[in-house]
Symmetry: C2
DNA sequence: CGGGATCCGTTACGATACTG
DNA sequence: CAGTATCGTAACGGATCCCG
């Protein structure tokens, strides 16, 4: 494990960066915000990260108490955010908001999984969720399933199938990314770029309202 | 100038990190949020940064449009945030909020200037400023002056003297940092850790309210 | 003296190969 | 599947030097 190159400055920002400022670390957290993941899940999502770096970063995150490593089903190891690690949600959301200001350049690679979209939308949903709203929606993106749950004013978007969805929204990765970055209005998205199936009628109104607020927040 | 090690991922967070994710970059932005600065101002604030790294980072920030380099008074060069660069304020604020959760460790160095506190408090003030509030306050911290201005719902804290203050608050670096990190309540701070001189009577109420909201936000 | 540029030893990164 | 080991390359950090 590589040595910790700390800033050693008496400043809260430097202290934060000492924990999460290393290369790849924030992207690992990004993926973990979409739910627990195995080593290989992370390696696939972070196209190109070297195995030893992923090992290093995870060890440091575990050491700092942002991540826990647990035993999965068949002796597999699973990494998961701690409560402290969850607190990075707002940082990641602000980074996504800022990054959305820049157009993609150069040869861009589609991530190996869709955790990035789940995290971006999930973080926005956290901010606009109201206590009155209760629903579970299934997002089917290029065939992969994500689960948006909103209950008691708390929202999250997990990269896993939704057992009992109230709504099912099917769309493509690029379109969802465009909406989540504010490059596509919700209107444009709804007419033609996605398909919405409502299973629980009374949930539709709240869902549309939530999506509207998410898009509005993104374009702020 | 060192090559740009881009993530090349189709994800807004990765795009943000491609601009501001390098070591030192966010700390440079932190200092610039406290107002324009010369090369040596930055070098002093970022205790220990190598000159070539500061040169590199500034060049990249200028290239990406987050910073402009202008000619100062006597042929000196001055670095300043662009409108785009100002947009990093929320990221930096969230980092400060997160970093405040960790206690200082190891041999910690007091930064060479007080831009870090100015930025932290200024970013918080931006979020709690209301349109009705109009005031200019001088913060005198260990003898150095900062200027908190709140007008038309927009606040900022600049590391420079305040020409016509409505209030003057004198305190020490460690105490102000403690308040800004939520380690000290406003009550404790006001009774004994600072001295407030009110020059414009009708501004006092609004100022106290502002400070209360800032501290509340920090402890959220 | 401010504002860097250049040089050089050290450390981290990144790719590939390999192992339990 | 979940890493470890190795190794060339790139970035960092400290110092020194340069120029107006």
């Amino acid at each position: 494990m590589t040595k910790n190159r700390s800033y050693k400055l008496l400043c809260p920002i430097a202290r934060a960066l000492d924990r999460i400022g290393d290369r790849w670390t924030l992207l690992i957290l990004r993926d973990l915000h979409a739910g627990p993941a195995r080593f290989s899940d992370l390696q696939r999502g972070l196209t190109g990260i070297a195995a030893n770096l992923l090992t290093d970063r995870l060890a440091k995150l575990v050491g700092d108490g942002l991540v826990v490593k647990t035993e999965g089903a068949h002796g597999t190891s699973v990494y998961e955010l701690t409560d402290l690690g969850e607190k990075t949600s707002d940082i990641i959301f602000e980074l996504a908001m800022f990054g959305a200001r820049f157009a993609p350049e150069e040869e861009l690679v589609t991530p190996g999984n869709l955790r990035t979209v789940a995290t971006t939308i999930g973080a926005a949903a956290k901010r606009v969720a109201t206590p009155e709203l209760n629903l579970d929606a299934s997002f089917v993106v290029d065939g992969e399933q994500m689960h948006l749950s909103v209950h008691d004013g708390r929202a999250k978007m997990i990269y896993a199938p939704c057992p009992e969805p109230d709504l099912i929204l099917s769309t493509g990765y690029l379109d969802l990314l465009a909406v989540s970055e504010g490059d596509l209005t919700l209107d444009e998205f709804v007419r033609g770029r996605c398909e919405l199936r409502v299973l629980t009628q009374e949930k539709e109104r709240g869902f549309v309202e939530l999506m509207t607020n998410i898009v509005a927040l993104m374009n702020k």
